[in-house]
Symmetry: C2
Subunit: 317 residues, 2 copies
């Protein structure tokens, strides 16, 4: 059997590393465990933003300008909907809509999210398994100075403006971890787990909130390695750094490593943050520094290759 | 109070006359009672083809080439859906989809079809009330030599190919007539009812199947006048003539008049069928012949004007 890897990922940043990993590892060696805490019902449709982002990234359909949705998109549906007085704050492209309509139709027919996601990734010609963290609904709630907001209301409608004070993941305590992810984590061929450079608070923490996952990550013999989403004190994309400031956490890669400390065996930070390695070593956390800002496909593949090599260096089965 | 008129209508042909009537009569004088027997759930959306056809016709958004849907339409959604393996046999345009998504969202929230339809016609800037025949689901079933088919499966998916043997309207026996239509029919200011040139079997009969409507039409003092959808033995649009042949009914305007005989006080047929007037007179049914093929807006208005004048000539309150 080939060694197996599980990548834990959220939105755009994580999906970039996943694309790189998928270039290096076959579908028998790599699966993706994806956040569904920002899923929501909108206009009667079930939208799974992080699954969609990964699906489009792996199918090479991502919109490079927006960072979300499909490329070569048109907007006739949402423009018409707005004109009719419908809720238009969440942009849904005409082509993108096909995925949401199909998913919603299948879910309403009683098919679980894992099976629906598997059908949709296959329909997109994707070889690797995309595993929603759970078939059970988990909903990220953002606590802010302006009150508690459903994730998409915070993220899209309010454009991350309200200062955050914390997060909760409604439904997580009774959610069941994706069966295939659980099996991979318990499999003796597991060679590594990659926590992708996604937002720790709203992309990775909802996944880690599924009962049993933290323990499985702590207990598995394979190394668990995170890639920092913070580079030189800034987030490449999204509100991670802003949230850290509002939560009075230092906006550094070290703070991200601390956030995951109980599950990590290694940490990958950006070459610009190489000076932070001793601070991590002082906490007994092996770390490497490497260019981690992914623009081109080569960037993604290079970071994936470096991360896998780092995992190999840590692994003594 | 102004005299009031109720137009009973189905799809494309009926909607043309409705547009003409709406040019002559204000919203306090004219309402439309519309077939919902061909409504269906598709891709998790509630589609109301006849309401949509009338809505787009009155909003001057109809697609003149297809006869259904909106003009200036794009098809990115349905093309993508087909590519993902979704059911693509029923064409839904990107702009058209906004209406179905909004309607479905509101219906799912527990709002009745009459209220939903009223919101949507207002959102389209339509002054006249569009009344679905009932808020209760009624589904036209087409009995054919190939078995019984749901209406849209017969009409769109099978392109009306199977020979019909009859029709049924599931749910009609327990459906309640639209409240506003019932009120207008009982109102002393009612001056006329127009049965539009729609398919008698699958557009008008489902409406007439709602309990109490036939009796209300027979009992109301105002004249009930139908406009023939059959001209010189042919249907202007749709499968009416084909159905008549398969049902072994003569493909004539007289056969249409006979079909409605118990409710009619007058009949409008095409100028090409003027020779049929004596046959109708022999059945005690007053009739007039006038150009009824509606291509331009002037055609629609002229037929509406002639029909209303005919109603006035019949009316002796």
């Amino acid at each position: 059997m080939n060694p197996r890897y599980l990548a834990i990922t959220g939105g755009v940043g994580g999906a970039k590393l996943c694309v790189g990993l998928a270039r290096l590892l076959g579908p028998d060696q790599l699966s993706f465990l994806v956040n569904t805490g920002d899923d929501f019902e909108h206009l009667g449709l079930h939208v799974s933003p992080d699954i969609d982002t990964l699906t489009y990234a792996l199918a090479d359909l991502s919109n490079p300008e927006t960072g979300w949705g499909r490329r070569d998109e048109s907007w006739h549906f949402i423009e018409t909907l707005r004109g009719l007085g419908g809720e238009g704050w969440f942009n849904l492209g005409d082509r993108d809509l096909a995925l949401h309509v199909l998913r919603s139709q299948w879910l309403r027919a009683g098919i679980g999210l894992a099976e629906v996601t598997d059908r949709l990734r296959k329909a997109h010609g994707i070889a690797h398994a995309i595993l929603p963290m759970s078939d059970d609904p988990v909903r990220t709630e953002v606590h802010t100075h302006a009150g508690t907001l459903a994730f998409q209301h915070y993220f899209v409608r309010e454009r991350c403006a309200p200062a955050v004070t914390g997060f909760s993941f409604a439904g997580a305590e009774s959610a069941t971890l994706n069966v295939q992810a659980r099996a991979w984590l318990a499999d003796p061929t597991l060679a590594g787990v990659i926590v992708c450079p996604s937002n720790p608070f709203v992309s990775i923490d909802p996944i880690l909130a599924i009962p049993g996952l933290r323990a499985a990550l702590r207990d598995c013999p394979a190394p668990v390695v995170a890639v920092s989403p913070i580079v030189a004190g800034l987030a490449i994309k999204g509100p991670t750094a802003k949230m850290m400031e509002e939560l009075r956490v230092p906006q550094t890669a070290v703070a991200v490593a601390s956030h995951y400390e109980d599950i990590l065996d290694g940490f990958v930070l950006d070459a610009q943050d190489e000076a932070l390695i001793p601070a991590l070593a002082a906490r007994d956390l092996p770390a490497i520094a490497t260019p981690s800002v992914m623009v081109t496909l080569d960037d993604k593949t290079a970071l994936a290759r470096t991360t896998l090599a780092f995992i190999h260096s840590l692994y003594a089965p």
